[in-house]
């Protein structure tokens, strides 16, 4: 199962062993590449899926997070940091399976970290946990309540993981836990916002054009690297180069907008969903109706994180 073993390799002693969950996804591979390029880090992956195009000196364990074999990765006690990306967002999967994977898996990981003294934990959450709402203030800070699950049961797992991570932060005071809440990650990654922007004819809501924030996938990976700094702990919103109306983003990509009246959208959308034409859950259209933007100044100040890509480069990144 595993390939490349950190124990019989003569690696420099000062290298830090970083375990990345969900490493085989597109974003996981990107994070792995980003950290792998850095001399200070040795990358160890855990994912149920095989890691395509794995660099030779990256160790990969093709196991389930909840399995005993995943525990074995931590058992030697030489893991210096955990980067938890392994959230499953398969919109068509059964909610029980998602729950067991996401919540159960995360709980297990935290258990391993406590048991085997992992000094550093980075959890990738999302700025979506605040939820798009008409009365949202323009830039939500990290203290804002996580209300996304109120409107979308589908967001429940993500919100729950964020809450679990913050209670882990308080419970395990000697572990530096960092929770990152990045805005919409754009790039070749397969997530809802990038997939949406890759459509040729993009459904929008007639008369709604909220401001949206986005971040280049490489900048998001860079933020994870910043969060691995030993002193970094706490909750951070991660923002990109700026904010734009949704329509300006679509115009930049030359997309044809298909405006749908918002009161018909729900019915049309769920019909399309049932027919298998659309892969967007009905509830997600609030994200193209109301603002859900965050203030990223704390990450600028404490983590020294800065986006390197411009707005145009970030938007264009979805075309790969």
């Amino acid at each position: 199962m595993s390939s490349g073993n950190r124990h019989d390799r003569s690696s420099p002693a000062e290298q830090l062993n970083i375990v990345i969950t969900g490493i085989a996804g597109r974003f996981g591979r990107l994070v792995a590449r980003t950290l792998h390029r850095d001399e200070r880090f040795r990358v160890i992956g855990i994912d149920r899926r095989p890691f395509k195009g794995k660099p030779k000196d990256v160790e990969h364990h093709q196991v389930d997070l909840r399995s005993k074999k995943a525990r074995d990765v931590f058992r030697q006690g030489d893991v210096d940091a955990l980067v938890h990306l392994g959230m499953m967002h398969a919109p068509r999967a059964k909610s029980e399976e998602l729950f067991s994977w996401n919540i159960g898996g995360t709980a297990k990981l935290f258990e391993y970290c406590l048991a085997y003294h992992v000094p550093k934990v980075v959890v990738l959450s999302s700025a979506n946990v605040y939820g798009p709402r008409p009365d949202n203030t323009q830039f939500l800070t990290e203290e804002a309540p996580l209300l996304a699950a109120q409107a979308f049961p589908e967001m429940r797992d993500l919100v729950e993981i964020d809450h679990m991570a913050s209670s882990f932060f308080w419970k395990a005071r000697d572990i530096n836990t960092t929770i990152l809440r990045p805005v919409h990650i754009l790039g070749r990654v397969k997530n809802a916002p990038s997939n949406y922007l890759r459509l040729q004819r993009v459904p929008t809501l007639l008369g709604f054009d909220p401001m949206v924030q986005m971040i280049h996938e490489n900048d998001a990976a860079g933020a994870i690297r910043c969060a691995l700094a030993p002193q970094a702990r706490g909750i951070y919103n991660i923002t990109g180069p700026g904010e734009l109306p949704l329509s300006a983003v679509l115009d930049e990509l030359g997309r044809q907008r298909v405006p749908v009246p918002h009161n018909m959208a729900r019915a049309l959308w769920s019909a399309a969903w049932r027919a298998g034409v659309s892969s967007f859950p009905v509830q997600e259209f609030d994200f193209i109706r109301y603002v859900c933007m965050v203030d990223g100044s704390r990450a600028h100040r404490d983590l020294g994180y800065r986006p390197r890509y411009s707005l145009r480069e970030t938007i264009r990144a979805v075309e790969g």
Partner: protein, 297 residues
Amino acid sequence: MTPLFALDRLAAVSAGQWLKSRVSSFVDKRLGPEFEARSKALAVRQNEYGYDAFGFSRHSLRYAALLARWLYRDYFRTETHGIENVPGSGRLLFVSNHSGQLPYDGLVIGTALFLEADPPRMARSMVERFVPTLPFASYLLSRFGQITGTPENCKRLLEDEEAILVFPEGARGISKPFSKRYQLQDFGLGFMRLALETNTPIVPVAVIGAEEQAPAVNVKPLARVLGLPSLPVVPYPPFIPVVPLPVRYRLYFGEPLYFEGDPDDDDEVLEEKVRAVRNRIQSMLHLGLRARKHVFW
């Protein structure tokens, strides 16, 4: 996709673009170089696409400006006094009386600051929290510089040295019946907290004219039945206040007031400061009303 269909779409797209460019050039021609110069002089932050963080865009402002200038100059024939009291830069809170069922007073104050102040200033006002749920209004108002009324938004803008227009009477002011014209309703304390917290000078503004633009009575029983906060009725068609009467607007900008203190003080302490602002506006209203010869001209 058949070639014919593709052609069809091409025609539709270029017809849309043609119409858009015609409207755009019509607006530009009507607005003239005066607007262009003032728009350029407006101190706003914008990104490479021409939008600020709240969705304001100079390009979109042109459309609103055409209507606003017509209302300001031709319909309401606004007289503006004391515009020289408005500081040319730095954070500011404009505090005004609020009346007339529909917020034309906000529009007229904003237009005056854009057309008459030197350099022009943009006063952002706050929209009610239900506005973002309405189609079109939700994004158009933010393109024209309006913001959702949360304390955090105001603080952020003031810290960026912008100007905000507030109506501390809120809904109590705008929906009061005709019989209560020029009687200021209770002021909220929020604006004073904001001013103290951000160390922002307050410019009192008195609006004369708006209080007569929609002489309404409030049909309370019917409002209660319909579950509305108020149901204003005017004695001319269409009986609900949509079109304001062509009253003459008179705006008075007072000298900036500076306050110091702890924003978390007890309400009584803040109320005293708020009363000072309220009294200033009330006396400006009295002076303005005494100088006025007629409601309509």
